[in-house]
Amino acid sequence: MAAIVETVGLTREFTVRDGVRRRRVTAVDGLTVRIEPGAAVGYIGANGAGKSTTIKMLTGILVPTRGTVTTCELNPVKDRRKLARQVGVVFGQRSQLWWDLPVRESFRILAAVHGLSVATERTRTDELVDRLEIGEFLGTPVRQLSLGQRMRAEVAAALLHAPRLVILDEPTIGLDVLSKQRLREFLLAERRAHGTTLLLTTHDMGDVERLCDRVLVIDRGRLAYEGDLAGLGRAAGAERVLVVDLAEPSADLTGIPAARHLASEAHGLRQRLAFDAETTTAARVLAAVADRAEVLDLTVEEPDIEDVVRRIYAARR
């Protein structure tokens, strides 16, 4: 089957004016990736790594400086209007709804924009309203919505024309835990029901873990990692952290096999131990700790995405 996104040596340079001098900055540098239809891909990297520039080239907003890009078997710049019917984009930071109109009205306009028939418009709107639980604020002007409500409305707006490829740029930024969870569940269901391809940029490891089966890490415009999430952890050598609350103040828990003592708080009542999930398990570390002190409570912290990305970056430099 043909790829839904394919780039070969995709490069984008910008001219930046630096006082009087002009400087060429390479935002995306020789990016070669292939995304199969139906995949769910996390596209991660630090701010300014080139994520937004890539998305703009995939959707035909920006013209590549060099290299080629094919999205939905189309040339995004030449066939922008045809492509717009097959791609839906959600920008976490910018709205495509009409801020002074009720949500319902925005949907009606977008249905007209995409030329949906009356029947399609009704079934699709009903489906999205139901699954994203939008019903209660369908008649509310967009500007009066909470952030969580607005994001749900934005997602529905971008998916109204049932696009084959959905690109989400920081979709969960600023959302509370419950709203994030709902949104992720919806995206999973949408993918199951329609075989939609998902490409999302995010700072949230939870998004990647729950939604994505493949990860691309971009560093200064170059592809730094490509593969599954477990492999990303391995490549980064990211450690998990076991936090234990002890019954009595204790000396630092150093010398536990395959674990490293990070810090102690409150005279050693709470201690933090880092371990590598590849060489040991949380249970083994816990058992070793329990041999030396009475454990009252514990939590395991996952590596956060920033940390993983930082490690990958550090390993490349």
């Binding site: 959707t59 035909g60 907003i61 920006l62 013209v63 400086t65 920008f91 910018r94 009606r108 924009v113």
Partner: protein, 271 residues
């Protein structure tokens, strides 16, 4: 055929209808907008009137004749402003990144920008233009014949098109200029002001700028000369009064070139 056309127009109609509804739905606000727009038009008309307290002729034209120039040019500009005026918002769209949203919809970018809004409050401004034009026609005792009607309709239609082109031209330049609206206002609103004056009083550079480059003299002054059979003015002969459509064509060539250039710059080449 009609069905295909209706399907093509549907996206634009949906946006415009919603915009118009939302503007009119805040009744008090809308009335205030109408009044403020009316006042600004009246002030400009009063300016002409005050001027004629000091002089009886300006650039070889009497007050009644200037009224006709004002009416034609201002009505054409107001109608263009009604439909195209919000192209001025492009810098806001650029800064907020909302222009990218237009790229994600299956319509041409410029058509989306034009139909993204409609400024209904300009209706009151257009009303002043209609009254001035009516008064101008009445006091000048135009001997109505088919030729005069054709001239009037041509002048109004091409005047609207020329004024509209100024908004698109300005929008095209906004892609390059940061905070560039002061420069573009100079020829958009400066052009409107110039258009309501007798071009015969302009110096040669101004005649080149607003007579030909931004062809605003074709929206009021030149058709008036032709309609009233007034003597030719240097550099702006009376027979040009029929050439409004050519001026509009030139203005749109200029506007589209600027727009294309701007979009090309925004997307970074190609396109």
């Amino acid at each position: 055929m009609a069905e295909a056309l209706s399907a093509r127009v549907r996206p634009y109609r949906a946006v415009l209808a919603a915009r118009a509804r939302s503007q009119a739905s805040y009744r008090a606000n809308f009335v205030l907008d109408l009044v403020s727009s009316l006042l600004s038009a009246l002030v400009e008309l009063a300016e002409v009137w005050v001027l004629f307290h000091a002089v009886t002729r300006l650039g070889g034209l009497e007050f009644g004749q200037i009224l006709l120039v004002f009416g034609l040019a201002d009505l054409a500009f107001s109608l263009a402003d009604l439909v195209f005026g919000h192209c001025d918002n492009l810098p806001t769209y650029l800064r907020a990144g909302t222009l990218d949203v237009f790229y994600l919809r299956p319509q041409p970018l410029l058509l989306q920008l034009i139909t993204s809004d409609i400024t209904l409050k300009r209706l009151s401004r257009a009303a002043v233009g209609v009254v001035a034009l009516g008064a101008g026609l009445a006091v000048n005792h135009v001997a109505w014949n088919a030729r005069d009607v054709a001239l009037l309709v041509t002048a109004l239609a091409s005047g609207c098109a020329t004024s509209a082109a100024m908004f698109v031209l300005a929008a095209g330049l906004q892609f390059f200029l940061i905070e560039g609206y002061e420069l573009t206002n100079a020829f958009v609103y400066g052009g409107r002001y110039a258009a309501t004056q007798p071009a015969s009083v302009w110096g040669r550079p101004l005649k080149v700028v607003f007579g030909y480059f931004f062809p605003m003299a074709f929206t009021g002054f030149l058709p008036t000369l032709r309609l009233l059979d007034l003597p030719t003015s240097p550099w702006l002969p009376t027979w040009l009064g029929w050439c409004g459509p050519l001026a509009a064509l030139w203005a749109w060539v200029l506007a589209m070139a600027c727009w294309r250039w701007g979009v090309r710059h925004y997307r970074g080449g190609g396109g």
